[in-house]
Symmetry: C2
Subunit: 195 residues, 2 copies
C-alpha cells in the first residue's frame, strides 16, 4: 500500500464513479456513441442508479445544482460590507476548497477537453453558466446590493470564474483555484473599469 | 387608404411572414403543438421555403446570424478612439435603426412573452445571447481592445442590450431603442464600476 492516506481519502461514491465512467467513455467512443447503460456498466452500477443521480446523459459532467448552491452560500457568508467582487471571491474560495481542489485538476482538464469537442456539451455548459450567474445575482441582492449592480457583478463574477477555471486546469502543479480566482477577479475588475 | 405611406412600407417578405405566422401559432396553440408545416401554411408558403430561411422551428424567432453581424459591423464603424461602451452604443444605435424600430415594438413584446412561456425558447435565447456576446468581444478585439477588457466589455454590453430590450418592449410609445440603450449602457457602466 504505497499511498494509504491518499487511497483512504479516494473512495469515489456512486455519483463520482458515474462521472468518471462517463468521462472515460466520452473520451474513448465520443459522446454520441456512449449510452447511459454503458456508463452505468463501466461504473459497476445500474441504469436506475444513474437516473437517481442525473436526469440525462448530457447532465453527467455538470453536477446538478450543487455549484449554484455553493456559490450562493459563499456569497451569503462573506464578511458584512464586502463589495460584490469580494463576496464573489469568498464564494470562489469555497469552490476551490470543496470542488476544484488539487486532486480534481487533472479531471477538470480532461472534462474541459471533452466538453470543447462536443457541441451538445458546450451548449449545456453555456446554460449551466447562466444558472450560476443567476444564483450569484440573487445572492448579491439578498446582501442588499442594488439590482443592476448585482446583475453586472454576477456577469463579471461568472466571467472571472470561467477564466480562472480555464487557467487552473491549464496549469498542472500551479496555484490553487482560490488564488487563481482572486487574481482573475482583480483583473476582470480592472477590465470592467475600462468599459 | 388611410395610411398609404405606412402600408407601402409594410410589405412583409417571406422571412417576416414566417416569423409572424410562427408567433401567432405559438400564442394560439403553444410551441409544442405547432409544426413547421403549420407555420408555412399560415404564412401561405411551403415547408421548403421555411427551411430555406430557418434550420428548425426553434430558430424562427431568432433571426439567424443577422444580429451578430449587425453588432460586429456597428462596433467596427464606431469613431476611432471610442471606449468599448461607446463602440457598443454605436452598434446598438444601428440595431435600433435596422431591427428594433418603432413598428417592431409591439411584435417584440409578443415575442418576449412567448419566449418566457417556453423553456425550449428560453434556452435558444440564452445560447443566442452567448453568440452575440462573442461577436461583440471579437469586434472589440479587432479594434485593438485588450483581450480581457474586450471579454468583460462584451459581457456588460450584452447585459445592457438585454435590459434595454426588456425596457423598450415594456414601454409602448416610449423612447426609441437607441436612446434606451445609451442610457442603459451608462447605468451598467456605473454598476460595473461598483464591482
Amino acid at each position: 500500500m504505497p499511498y494509504p492516506d491518499r487511497m483512504a481519502r479516494w473512495q469515489p461514491n456512486a455519483s463520482e464513479r458515474l462521472v468518471l465512467a462517463a468521462l472515460e467513455l466520452f473520451e474513448e467512443r465520443g459522446y454520441e456513441a456512449t449510452t447511459v447503460v454503458g456508463i452505468a456498466e463501466r461504473a459497476g452500477l445500474t441504469k436506475s442508479t444513474f437516473f437517481r443521480h442525473f436526469p440525462d446523459k448530457r447532465e453527467v459532467l455538470f453536477g446538478g445544482d450543487a455549484m449554484a448552491g455553493l456559490l450562493a452560500d459563499g456569497i451569503a457568508a462573506a464578511p458584512a460590507g464586502s463589495p460584490p467582487s469580494a463576496a464573489i471571491a469568498h464564494a470562489l474560495d469555497a469552490v476551490g476548497r470543496d470542488v476544484f481542489h488539487a486532486e480534481r485538476r487533472a479531471f477538470g482538464a480532461r472534462r474541459r477537453a471533452v466538453i470543447l469537442a462536443h457541441p451538445e456539451l458546450r451548449e449545456r455548459e453555456a446554460l449551466k453558466g447562466i444558472g450560476l450567474t443567476e444564483a450569484m445575482r440573487a445572492a448579491l441582492e439578498r446582501r442588499g446590493v442594488a439590482a443592476l449592480t448585482a446583475r453586472a457583478a454576477a456577469e463579471l463574477g461568472a466571467l472571472a470564474m470561467t477564466i480562472a477555471y480555464e487557467h487552473w486546469t491549464d496549469t498542472p502543479g500551479g496555484e490553487e483555484f482560490g488564488a487563481v480566482a482572486r487574481r482573475t477577479l482583480a483583473e476582470v475588475r480592472e477590465a470592467g473599469a475600462a468599459f
